[in-house]
Symmetry: C3
Subunit: 376 residues, 3 copies
């Protein structure tokens, strides 16, 4: 059981001449003691060791090859880790119909990203499984980066749950390709456009065995994002549409941040629509801030989401306030804590960290995370 | 999320003294835009982002340890990648009864190769999961290397589909251990025999829960291959037999190549037989060539396969012509395109790249690949 | 298919200043030709290529980061390998209810260990999936290290089979969290306590869908271990209890070794109890030795296990004698052979290497391993 040490260096594969080429093994192991409680008759609290309270646990392999003449080729393979119990990845269907899969410990898959790229002065063409353009504004302009108990409700919105910890608003499966898309072809603008950045993506659904109410092409869609960042200022807008026999899903959102030095303020607005035959109309927003404090950072946000199911009456709505602190022991290792409180109205049923909401409307939930994030 | 760079170097684990020892992380990410169409009433075309159009996508770990005295120990762990959607591997049953498994995104398994070896001047003993001897002639003497739409029909023959993209000739499952065998013990001749090379393999089936028509030992078999390569010339013959309660499967084949400089010509012939109670007799051949053109290579082949099901009448038969071009951007990165056309006779139903053949006999199919292959 | 070589070195991730930081890729590929036979009418022998006859086959990633001030952060991700057929890992349920899973080739999971740690002069806090404290004495004080046909019967005891090759005593599933626990929080004493070492662990069950006779918290437990090692002497005791609706499971054991130079003697005793409603009371012991011989080592043990099912009559009992030899070709590579013979009494049904015991009581079984272990 003699162990070998992998060098952490930037040496060349084929000699010093190709020093810009490299292969990188990387990952994050983030463990969280998560507690959640809720109000109402029959409520139940929950305490568990979970993962990804600050950053998503992951294991990946990536590399870049300099092709000369300003061109490069690269690959990126990155899968989820359930480091609290050793599981890896999530099942990925061969269709884009749904990105919502139980983590059933099926084994390492590169569900977070699996791409090959050609890049040049003209930008980058990227093929494989990747984030959707419209996800970026939700996570980049969330002080909690859509991880842990403080995750913005704008992510947990109409589809609920997806990547949002325990924030379940309405049944999953209606939001389509929310965070990532398989079978994706993307084009990214080059970096030298004076602060303008952007991407456009096309993904195709491939439902191997469509049943009634499905098409073989269910999950086919497209999205784009355009942003501008300069100095302390950053703003971006995005749009995406994914087609389903049961009704197309469209989202657009806008987000921005301003770094005042003493604090970085953030805001975002999202609108999500599902077409007939089952029309759903959701909208949400967030304001938040990151406040540097010595080797650490205070994080705070207020987010809300409201859904119009088109059935009359008041719209279900949830509001959340979250406050956290991250203490960096090094660039790679941090300990953190977050507390969040969510208030449900008009039938919304968001609960935090697996707490069981009591019966009746207008139930509240409080969640607490305490964890360690180690990256490599 | 600080990332670490893995050095690409050949430094020693335990110091400079053991400089010949190394562990290698390697892989291929090959993405393909694949299009297929077919003739006949009810036909349907298909366009998809797939993988492995030029080389099989993979992720692996291997290493060699110098034991001194001309001896070495080594290991090789290599699994499939479905980089278009982030899936990995294919399910491997604990039996050799069938090597044909749907890629259901079950997670990384070392289905391509999983071996440990002892080598010396006397050759190599290799234990684990490995290629069968009879597969090598099909792939080595195919200009398309049994990948992508141009894959030789001699592989897609009586078992169909297996490793052959969408080339389905007859129902899968009748060809047994075609490409690889688990629970395999192999012996390889040493490299210094004046151009003679060869291997012999024994694999045992281990059907944990045999049902009616199966034996616990179903999938037990053996194979051997003997070849001679010198200068521009290379030729090899192979034989394999795998035993099943439902009828043993035997294959033998021969292939060769001659490098004329301006072009490398290739040819192969294969004969596949399944014993009673269900006798099937298939035979096929290929001629092809690789033509170097600057930084690229033109690839061309004509292959055909015919099956006698022993039911009288004309034998189902398919003929395919394939033409492609690979342009090397570097040693590691290439872009490529292939077009292939297949003609079915007497009930053969080969379709390319997932196209749906129309009803009736003698339907044709055309397929087109455009992709990028990046290795590391 | 140009391959890259990973450096085996200890270079710094972020420069020479953090030279103590490293990421390690490691593993073991151990292949075994295993033979088993048994006595009695209807018996059947079995020969198979298997794995892990000397050390458990595995693939892992681990690393340590020096945080300064005597503190460090580290991670460890390690999964099983079924290198005889390329499978990886075992399914891990999201509950601790049972650690007994068929290796169904589901794909790489870090079932062997998946942890993140903070360490300092005060010891180590470790979060994730890890060994139970009570397992250590069974494996550390077994000359065969609970691997291969010679595995101590004290492991294969009341739960049978778990990690014990083919040593099945009674039906699996009654022993609970025997070898490892998910969702575990552990504390380890620091190394500088004059030979005293110890750990305490708490793990929580999380049965997502409990059925009748189960609780959501089934599998919640705790354990501790305390030992003393100095010079040739080493002794340790451990205790663990895991709670189930169907009856709590408690184990305690003690083991020790004395290195006389010409041989290292070992002994262990274990007691396993399951509470009502189904009470089971098992106890077993082992004596053994490791005898260094040149570049190799002779291994020998006698182990026995007896279970009182509380139903009267004589208690089922098995006794095993095992003898083996390991020849080290290098520090990383060894060839080995083991022969073991087991004798069943009063209805015990332990068989070795998959042999099928004949009908009737008091059947014997003999098993033989011949293999190669290569680590990296």
């Amino acid at each position: 059981m003699k162990k070998s040490l992998i060098a952490l260096a930037v040496m060349a594969a084929a000699g010093a001449a190709s020093a810009q080429s490299s292969v990188t093994l990387f990952g994050i192991v983030d463990a969280t003691i998560a507690y959640g409680r809720a109000s109402g008759p029959g409520n139940d609290s929950k305490t568990a060791l979970t993962n990804s309270g600050y950053n998503s646990s992951r294991l990946g392999f990536r590399g870049v090859e300099d092709l000369g003449g300003g061109m490069s080729a690269s690959f990126w393979l990155e899968g989820s880790l359930g480091n609290d119990d050793g599981t890896t990845g999530q099942r990925i269907p061969t269709t884009n119909r749904s990105n919502v899969h139980a983590n059933d410990g099926a084994g390492l898959v590169f569900n977070r990203r699996s791409t090959v790229s050609l890049s040049g002065g003209w930008g980058e063409v990227r093929l494989g499984r990747d984030y959707t353009p419209s996800f970026w504004n939700l996570t980049v302009f969330d002080p909690f980066g859509t991880n842990g108990v403080g995750t913005t409700l704008t992510l947990g919105g109409p589809g609920g749950g997806l990547g949002a910890g325990a924030n379940t608003f309405v049944p999953v499966g209606t939001r389509g390709v929310l965070v990532r898309a398989s079978n994706d072809i993307g084009y990214f603008l080059p970096a030298n456009l004076g602060g303008i950045y952007g991407q456009i993506n096309f993904w195709h659904g491939d439902d191997a065995a469509p049943v009634a109410g499905e098409r073989q092409s269910d999950g086919t869609g497209a999205g784009l994002r355009l942003g501008y960042g300069a100095g302390p200022f950053n703003v971006a807008a995005a749009w995406a549409r994914t087609k389903y026999d049961a009704g197309d899903y469209t989202t657009w959102n806008i987000g921005g941040s301003w770094d005042f030095g003493v604090a970085k303020a953030m805001a975002q607005y999202t609108r999500d629509q599902k077409d007939s035959p089952v029309e759903i109309d959701g909208r949400g927003w967030l304001i938040g801030a990151l406040v540097p404090v010595g080797a650490g950072e205070i994080r705070a946000s207020y987010s809300t989401y409201k859904i119009d199911f088109g059935v009359g009456g008041d719209d279900p709505k949830a509001r959340q306030v979250a406050l956290g602190y991250v203490h960096n022991l090094s660039k790679r290792t941090a300990i953190y804590t977050t507390v969040a409180h969510v208030r449900n109205d008009n039938g919304a049923r968001v609960s935090l960290n697996g707490a069981v909401l009591g019966a009746g409307n207008d139930r509240n939930s409080t969640g607490f995370d305490l964890g360690i994030r180690h990256s490599f």
